[in-house]
Symmetry: D2
Subunit: 315 residues, 4 copies
């Protein structure tokens, strides 16, 4: 991630603002406001605005005239209760806005979360940045053999080199052809004054899916947590997880009580099915239980045993 001089100055200008407000403020989040936190090779996450803090959740849950309750301990108890019982609307009362730079193939995963507001950089209107995601060697994984939707062992040696070469060269060549069709360089220089350039909305189709785009993405705390529960999870694709991890940290700074409750009840928690619950009950009572009598498929049985770390019970 390379910011231009001008971009750095724009960010700094915002960071040196000192406005007085009657609104609640989140001291820790203010410290990193507007900062471009690097993700992957050229991406970033910036918090550009927010509304509310932990007390706002309490305040709206109580529909109160004032600022939640007086004591932090009471607030904390209520927030934990709300999180535990999956109360949703109070967590919608906090809002956050990010500026994010990310590869297009990740943007396409991301946008599937519909309950958010988005303004993306327009490639119909502007020229795309000349930046592409190329994985680092330690992330160059083979297709998983037992999970059709995941990664397996690392790819090494010459095969790895050859893959990285393809990714770099194809992205660069396609971008160069993009400029050629536009008859314009990424920095706005016209290539050939006697030629017209292809419409931007058409030329962009030649770019590769690892090209970086950027957008403003705004959502409420509830939907942000839903996003993070899925995307900071170990089953998420590594590249989107890298964004989710950086955002987890912004949540921790913004609403620390909610963050702790989220980590306890959602991130570290698990779901038990009706059948799974019966098995756990039996195991606690020391009763015999096996896959045959459980009603579970082999896959389910293993998922259950794995989640409790009972390796000896794997089918």
């Amino acid at each position: 991630m390379k910011l231009t001089k001008e971009q750095k100055k724009e960010i700094l200008d915002q960071q040196t603002q000192k406005n007085v407000t009657k609104r609640v403020t989140s001291t820790e989040l203010e410290k990193i406001l507007y900062e471009a936190m690097p993700v992957l090779d050229h991406g970033f996450v910036r918090v550009v605005d927010y509304m509310g803090d932990d007390t706002s959740i309490v305040q709206s849950a109580r529909v109160s005239y004032g600022k939640g309750t007086k004591k932090v301990s009471t607030d904390s108890g209520l927030i934990k209760y709300l999180m535990r019982h999956r109360h949703s609307t109070p967590f919608e009362m906090c809002e956050i806005k990010y500026h994010i730079k990310l590869p297009i193939f990740i943007a396409r995963q991301w946008i599937r979360h519909r309950t958010a507001n988005v303004n993306e950089y327009s490639a119909r209107y502007s020229i795309m940045d000349k930046e592409f995601y190329v994985p680092s060697k330690e992330n160059l994984a083979a297709q998983s053999t037992n999970n059709r939707q995941g990664r397996g062992d690392l790819i090494n040696g010459t095969q790895a080199d050859s893959i990285l070469k393809i990714l770099k060269e194809d992205a660069e060549r396609n971008y160069q052809h993009y400029e050629e069709m536009l008859n314009e360089k990424y920095d706005g220089t016209i290539i050939d004054n006697k030629k017209k350039g292809l419409a931007r909305e058409l030329a962009r189709m030649n770019l590769t899916l690892n090209s970086y785009t950027q957008w403003y993405w705004k959502t409420d705390l509830l939907n942000l947590l839903n996003f993070l529960a899925l995307r900071a999870d170990s089953h998420a694709q590594f590249e989107i997880r890298e964004y989710a991890n950086v955002m987890m940290n912004t949540v921790k700074k913004w609403v620390p009580i909610s963050y702790d409750a989220f980590v306890d009840y959602r991130v570290g928690g698990m779901e038990l099915s009706a059948k799974g619950k019966i098995i756990i009950q039996k195991m606690i009572k020391g009763e015999k239980c096996d896959i045959e009598s459980s009603g579970l498929s082999k896959r389910e049985w293993n998922e259950l045993m794995n989640s409790f770390g009972f390796k000896q019970h794997l089918a």
Copy 2:
């Protein structure tokens, strides 16, 4: 609207907060933050939080690193352009949160706007306030004779008196019976120590629809404007219009450029159908045009002529 001493103090406590923030602030909106602005006989509208201002719209439309553009004139031109062409996503980048007290039958109209976050005072959990909406005499209108969904002439004299008497007495009696069933007064006093009280979630069903409820209601600027376009309109029910009018004023203070564009393009604007456009073209050219050849129904024709104030052309 009567605020208790404690409520007044809670509001004042928030209003005297002076927090320093790097976020953009709206100077005019800050001035009325938390204030309970009266609506109808016992209702109010309070702005309790907000995110962004006019520059945020520009900033996100441009996906910029800094704070929109430098010049107000450029921002204004862009905002007007976006409003005129019904661009929606940039207006979603501003968010506002209200605390509102309103009669239940109005709350039921209001909640039909789904794209908002709501926490309502819970009558399963708490005792409802002892307040009911009773229209003032100048709003006691008869059913309209030509619009099945509206109001016609005023109702006067003894009939008006008798109606107001009914509304007051029925609301009060039903509330008194509500307390009796709960075995508890509105202020928490137990009525008969030897009795149990009916569950709150049941007792509430005896209340009338003009009982006041309250909620926290949070939405983005786009959806707020959609709400106001419908509810500040002359076809809206008077009671909800009173709320919309007060909220219009908060929008004016918050995002004055967007407000002006909204008033020009939406509130004061109109839609023409394909057939209506042909008629207007003919009228401008001075060509003859009448309802028969227009393809319009009588109702449509009149709606069109009325909206331009051409009384002589009414069918």
Copy 3:
């Protein structure tokens, strides 16, 4: 619930339709299509339309050209997998539309589920039905003493009689006054030809919250299951649970495989927090564990032990 002769005929007319379609059909659901299934004293649930069946979930999950897979066993395995891992979008591919008659105070709970399409009977436009919900004696519960949002013991004897008397009389009186203000009976008869009637949008405010309203409510299977997970649950208010139970049965007829998976993984399932999981692990291993070392609050500890039925471990 009393349907008029005309309403019965309209329902019958629809039920005797025999249209040929290339769309998938749900044989069991077709059998009860349009039928008014009674709920509470005057309410009902009617399925009036639907789109898709279990195979549609598979079809869209696979983005296939044909009709899901060939074998029911494969479909079933996939649907269970999707439900277990909380995949959401395939379940959005089935849609259902209900016509529901329900008391207003329940309608107000219901409408908090925003991801649905609703058309409610308009009391601005029409006169409300003369029907009110009055609980049966066996549902007349006192306020719970340990759960501020629920019901406790039954209320009996003269207190029960007196409560039922209040509910009936107040609803009826208020309705009579509603007619008086409208100057029109529920059946459209004008009361006094020399008088005007109060606007319907105003007169309705005198009605009690147990008055029945009705609406068309359409949603997709995912959001329907979310609704049912909350509203068919034992913590839901009895009155809305009665609707949810009837609807559970319609889901069973419509998409039996999804229904079974829903019952296993959601209805009968539970969530464990990170801390709760550690306790269960210890219990299974036969290690000592108590509330002090658990990091759980007393409330949480009890919720956990209760959900596994371990009475002896209650704090």
Copy 4:
């Protein structure tokens, strides 16, 4: 667009289904159900399911027990009224599901319409089809000089040839490299048995944005019309307009009355601002009006005059 033998058979199997249903059916839409209607060079639009027809709109607007009204003329009048006054909820009562094959850069525009249900072909899980969009020569437009977001004159001759060559060659080379990295051909053949293949979720990043993807896309009539109003419009990018045009035709077959109202009030209609309305009023009255006194910007003035076809008034 080339369907495989198996795909054709799957489609035919569905088309030959003859199920009996009590649901309303749309005769004209049934005729083209499941059919793959070609769009662009390799794309298609298939209607795979639907719920409701024109009568469903009336039925829900009236919250009726039966099937809308008896007479088509009454239904038609109501639907036109609802469309003219932008009533929204009755149009949400019809639902349609499409299977669509489209280039990724178009899918990215499309997905900005959030109020729809989507299941996209997963490139984490499966290998993408070997198909890319290449514009035909008559659509190879230069960047517009007066509209930063559109197309201008055609690009001809050798420049056109060279552009088409780039698009084809880059897409094909990148796809070939995609296969090489996967160590697997598009048809599943393993390339080198001694090698592992790169994870699919990574390899896909090398594909170009004109690669075809496909999805199931389901939405209600209201949101479909909102989509079409924007995407069948002359300002929409040509490629997405091609899809919108085919879908317009499916709406015409499905709900012909709503379609006509949509064409009259939305597609062929226009919006007038408050200031614009004053100008039109003056022009009709034959009063002098010019841009100076109008309060309109030059751009706005021209947009207004253009929309009425008054060329002589252009600024």
